[in-house]
């Protein structure tokens, strides 16, 4: 099970080499054996998963297939509303979040034949980049225990890296898909704002939240994105643009694509091994025929300040009741972040939104004038030690959170598609990663570059030693 991808498992299921029930049983057994150490799941729905797998197996027996996701085991960050299962959002409260209906993205994957194994651990209220959780346990990095799995979609990344599932959904408000993907050595895609419906996912910041997949390979991310993307009347910000068949363009050669290696901001203060890994990845893309060149992008620092205002204000509005009535149930750093939002004025919030609009137009016009995509690092250092990042006062922890997510947050403010792709390991075995960032709604090009690199580099064959 640990070596499957969605693509290879799908072929095996189609060829009747393995059945959906066998796959589900094997995944559940692996979760039962290894997850007490990793702590990636909050809720395991064994009965529901096996019931769904039996139904899908019967469909195959009748000659019916729902497509490449038929019988594929997946799991969801515990902020997506999934029928019949509680949604804690990483809080102490088992049913903190309830929606009128199932999350749209979850429903689309279910309709496409995916089997839900359960709900995944996450940072409390999705507020934090390290994957620690005082209520459900700190998610352990499958590559190196005691180190951060990254957050806030910590369980999603760790479960994929550990081979418990072949795909998961996460949410990304400031990097919460890409940060854990980078820490855990898996692929994480934040699509363009509006590309994937947010309906039925607990909001943290309405205008910054993105829903996207975490998988072992870029091809798998393309397959999941193709299933969940597209207009949804339940999300007012969902785009009506058509959805490409992403998986069909991945093998198009990258020769001639213009790749900008953003040299300002993104490499400042970067860990030396991480910097070397990202530069080496850019070299691989150049060897594949892409026109890689250093570029200077508009300074993201002001945008990050603007994002902070927007996110703090929106998250405080969303969770005001919890902050007011049960502040003692929140971790100190989470509480501190939310309370700051209560002090953001309407004037500053609106000015921040107006600034964001201007920055987005300027960034797209300038950064993509001479590049089809950008390559930048995802995390400033390989997965840090969990105890170290949790230590200190709430203010110190919040400051540490901001520094760790400084490379991902700009693309939430800009709403641009960004995929985190593994690019090797540090000397002590922690994953390295880079992100490919594209124009609005051009996930196809970002995935194409990531896929080309992944196939050339071959890191995907390496697995964490868990058994």
């Amino acid at each position: 099970m640990a070596d499957w991808t969605i693509a290879t498992l799908s072929r095996a299921i189609t060829a009747r080499q393995v059945s959906p029930v066998e796959v589900t049983r094997e995944c559940l057994a692996r979760v039962g054996k290894l997850d007490p150490t990793i702590r990636s799941f909050i809720t395991v729905d064994a009965d529901g998963a096996l019931s769904a797998a039996r139904e899908l197996e019967a469909e195959l027996g009748a000659g019916l297939s729902r497509g490449p996701l038929h019988g594929i085991p997946v799991a969801y960050k515990d902020l997506f509303c999934v029928g019949g299962l509680p949604t804690s959002c990483g809080t102490k409260t088992r049913d903190y979040f309830a929606a009128d209906r199932e999350c749209s993205a979850v429903g689309r994957l279910r309709d496409a034949g995916a089997v839900t194994l359960g709900k995944l651990n996450m940072t409390e209220l999705a507020l934090g980049p390290f994957g620690d959780n005082p209520h459900h346990g700190d998610v352990q990095n499958p590559w190196k225990r005691g180190h951060a799995a990254g957050g806030s979609s910590s369980g999603s990344a760790a479960a994929v890296a550990a081979g418990f599932v072949v795909g998961a959904l996460g949410s990304d408000t400031g990097g919460s898909i890409r940060l854990p993907a980078a820490c855990c050595g898996v692929v994480g895609l934040k699509p363009t704002y509006g590309r994937v419906s947010r309906a039925g996912a607990m909001p943290l910041s309405w205008s910054m939240d993105h829903v996207g997949p975490l998988t072992r390979t870029v091809m798998d991310a393309a397959l999941l994105l193709g299933a969940i993307a597209g207009y949804d009347a339940l999300d007012a910000t969902s785009s009506r643009r058509g959805v490409p068949y992403y998986e069909r363009v991945l093998d198009t050669p990258v020769e001639g694509l213009r790749v900008g290696l953003a040299e300002n901001y993104y490499f400042e203060g970067l860990d030396a091994e991480m910097a070397a890994g990202v530069h080496a990845a850019a070299k691989v893309l150049a060897d594949l025929g892409a026109e890689v060149a250093p570029v200077r992008v508009p300074d993201p620092a002001p945008l990050v300040e603007v994002c902070n205002v927007v996110t703090r204000a929106e998250s405080a509005a969303i969770h005001a009741k919890l902050v007011r009535e049960r502040p003692h149930e929140l971790g100190p750093a989470v509480r501190a972040r939310l309370e700051v939002g209560l002090h953001v004025s309407a004037h500053d919030y609106l000015q921040a939104l107006r600034l964001r609009a201007r920055y987005t137009r300027e960034f797209v016009a300038r950064a993509f004038a001479e590049a089809d995509a950008l390559v930048v690092p995802v995390i400033p250092e390989p997965a840090p030690v969990l105890d170290a990042v949790k230590a200190g006062t709430p203010e110190e922890v919040v400051g540490r959170m901001g520094r760790f997510s400084r490379l991902t947050r700009p693309f939430n403010g800009l709403g641009l598609p960004a995929v985190s792709v593994p690019c090797g390991f540090s000397r002590d075995g922690r994953p390295l990663a880079f992100q490919v960032v594209g124009r609005p709604f051009d996930e196809a090009t970002t995935l194409r570059l990531g896929h080309a690199y992944e196939r050339a580099a071959g890191w995907v064959a390496r697995r964490p030693a868990l058994d």
């Binding site: 643009r241 490409p244 300040e305 603007v306 953001v344 609106l350 987005t360 196809a444």
Partner: protein, 61 residues
């Protein structure tokens, strides 16, 4: 209507966390040159109106 403990009210400047004051100062510094025509919803328009997306064959979402 929501009501917060007095320690978190905007009307009590002595209690405003330094981080909140920093955010307000940043906006004051950055927003000075905004044109009158810039709207809060301009972000989504900037994404949707980008004309230079090369998409493969599309299917409806």
């Amino acid at each position: 209507m929501l009501s917060f403990p007095s320690r978190t009210r905007m009307s009590d400047p002595d209690r405003t966390p330094p981080a909140a004051a920093d955010l307000a100062a940043a906006i004051a510094r950055l927003a000075g040159e905004l044109p009158l025509t810039e709207e809060p919803s301009g972000f989504v328009a900037a994404l949707e109106n980008d004309p230079d997306v090369r998409e493969a064959r599309e299917h409806s979402g």
